[in-house]
């Protein structure tokens, strides 16, 4: 509000506007008392562990949680009664739940990075394992064959899964025929198909009756089964966000449904569909079980998907860990780190595209 000093209205005195306040926010003293009470819970749990036969991190953590909830209950109860006590204890319990859920993420990231870093070397991304044995020093060989194999297989499976997944999503959101509900359920059921069952299916339907040999293509087929539901569900969510007016506008201009979908609806959802594709790739890039059943897992670069064994990141990791020598385990961690980095990049890219979706 601007106060017009040049032309003051007689009824309006010049007022001093007070500063905005937020009296409901936690004040400094409350923060300090929270800190004291957390320290008290920590001290109490430490004392208990020190004075009783219970030892170790687990009882310490558990006791800390129990004491934290108990103390916050007492604190709330004393200041504002039993209801407030329950409320603050409940808040502590929720925070503990969040902490427990996040702890493994931190542990997984830390373990993979700390154990995988020593295994990284310049040749890792350019050499394959054809000339190196698992007991060779870690600087020998690399996983170029695994990266190439994973790339080839993921691309082939994407070529199969993208059209099918997208068509499924379009059926659900655009055609809305009588199969809409069953198809939605089937897509959900398909996302629950165990990956090893997908592998067995390809084995029984293609490998035994037709090709009689393991190859990258067989792995891709199994991966595409796992990819279709991810793409279909994400694409469906995105297409659902496209406003109905847009479709009606297209139809009202005399466009056929085909042209409306192809030229209005799908382009409007473009960046969301990119997210769907990336999430689909992230879903299958580290998939292990069907790869172990179907690809044969070679040690050298093979870009021919229909002939010969094809290596891949999960296979490389699996093989390294189960070989068990010190060097092989180091290779396994390095492989996991590469896989984790790949997933992180894919995830960040998907995030980037999904935040730009059409409103």
């Amino acid at each position: 509000m601007s106060i017009e000093t040049d032309n003051p209205l007689p009824s309006k005195e010049k007022k001093i506007t007070p500063q905005p306040q937020t009296p409901w926010k936690t004040s400094g003293t409350e923060r300090a008392s929270s800190l004291i009470f957390i320290l008290a819970a920590a001290a109490a749990s430490y004392m208990t562990v020190a004075l009783t036969p219970m030892k170790g991190i687990l009882p310490l953590t558990l006791l800390f949680f129990i004491f934290a909830a108990l103390f916050s209950f007492i604190r709330g109860n004393r200041s504002r009664g039993i209801v407030a006590g329950q409320d603050s204890a409940a808040g502590v319990v929720m925070a503990i739940g969040m902490f427990v859920a996040l702890l493994p993420i931190a542990s997984i990231l830390y373990t993979t990075v700390s154990k995988g870093l020593p295994g990284l070397h310049r040749g890792l991304l350019f050499n394959d394992m054809s000339a190196a044995t698992p007991t060779d020093p870690i600087t020998e060989g690399g996983l170029s064959h695994a990266i190439v194999g994973t790339f080839v297989m993921v691309m082939i499976s994407l070529a199969i899964a993208l059209p099918l997944g997208l068509l499924t999503a379009i059926y659900i959101t655009e055609i809305r025929g009588r199969f809409t509900r069953p198809i939605r359920f089937l897509v959900q059921a398909m996302s629950g198909v165990p990956s090893i069952v997908a592998g067995l299916f390809i084995l029984s339907a293609f490998v035994y009756p037709i090709t009689k040999t393991f190859s990258g293509l067989m792995g891709s087929l199994a991966l595409s089964i796992l990819m279709i539901p991810t793409i279909a569900r994400t694409a469906e969510e995105v297409l659902r966000l496209i406003p109905e007016d847009l479709r009606e506008a297209g139809l009202a201009l005399g466009g056929t449904q085909w042209r409306t979908v192809a030229m209005v609806v799908v382009p409007a959802a473009r960046s969301g569909l990119v997210t769907a594709v990336i999430l689909g790739i992230a879903r299958v890039a580290g998939e292990t079980a069907p790869i172990l059943l179907l690809t044969g897992g070679g040690d050298q670069i093979n870009i021919n998907p229909v002939e010969g064994a094809m290596g891949s990141l999960p296979f490389y990791i699996w093989k390294s860990f189960f070989f068990g020598s010190e060097e092989a385990v180091a290779r396994g961690w390095a492989g996991l780190l590469v896989l984790l980095t790949l997933v992180l990049i894919l995830f960040a890219t998907a995030r980037f595209f999904s935040t730009r979706k059409v409103r």
Binding site: S2, T17, P20, T22, P23, R80
Partner: protein, 306 residues
Amino acid sequence: MTMSTTPESLSAKQKELEKKMTEERSQSHTAPASLASVAQTKVSRPAGAKRLGTGLEARGVHAWFGKNHVLSDISVDFASGTVTALIGPSGCGKSTFIRTLNRMHEFIPTAAMAGEVLLDGKDIYAPGTDVTKIRLKVGMVFQKPNPFPSMTIGENVLAGLRLAQLKSTNKDDLVEECLIRAGLWNEVKDRLDEHGGALSGGQQQRLCIARSLAVSPHVLLMDEPCSALDPGSTLRIEETISELAESMTIIIVTHNMQQAARVSDYTAFFLSDGGPGEMVEYGKTSEIFSNPKDKRTENYVTGRFG
């Protein structure tokens, strides 16, 4: 679904009132005269009923959303046992003001305020105040009826007790009393075990009023309680308001000036000229509608803008 189900349950007095209202509505285009007359001929409430609390007072209340100053320097003393209507065009801060009175304002993440709100003489924003106790004393009825769908009608009435874990000696009596006071008892007494969603909009809103009454608040805030309802339900709720005002302080936000004239003892007119909302005029309802002091108030109540 107009004028719900049981006309025979309306008393003769209610019918008479309805007739009067219909007449008024038919002549609403001659607004100033009729509004003023409504405001003056309103039946005065019997004094002497037991009153809860000593009222509510706002002192220099300001409100912000982020950097946006939406409400400037509002000071009103709401006496116990009165109905105060807040009128004014959309976006002038009426709803924001009413939400500062029971500390619902702070649910908007960027919200801030200044000033004091005194409930029975104590500042509700003072440090260490238990906000849940404030909200128990200052009840609120929202624009859209919002009964809890997972609870039955009876459970909805008792929801406040359950939420705050208050003891009640006789729950059945309390449910009956609250529903009678909210004017809903006759319509729902045989189906207290049905879910709250089974009622019509007007019945749901009266259920929400009954729900607020169960914790015996000293003040009842109503944020456009009738804007989503049909005329019949509106009438029933206005009657409820008149009856409730015998024992508590009621503050009602309304866009309907006839409603303000019908139900309120005092009226506050809010206005925003692009800047923060301000209270232009406050006074007895009869004064505001018949003889407003401020030109802007007159323009508004005579329907020249807004």
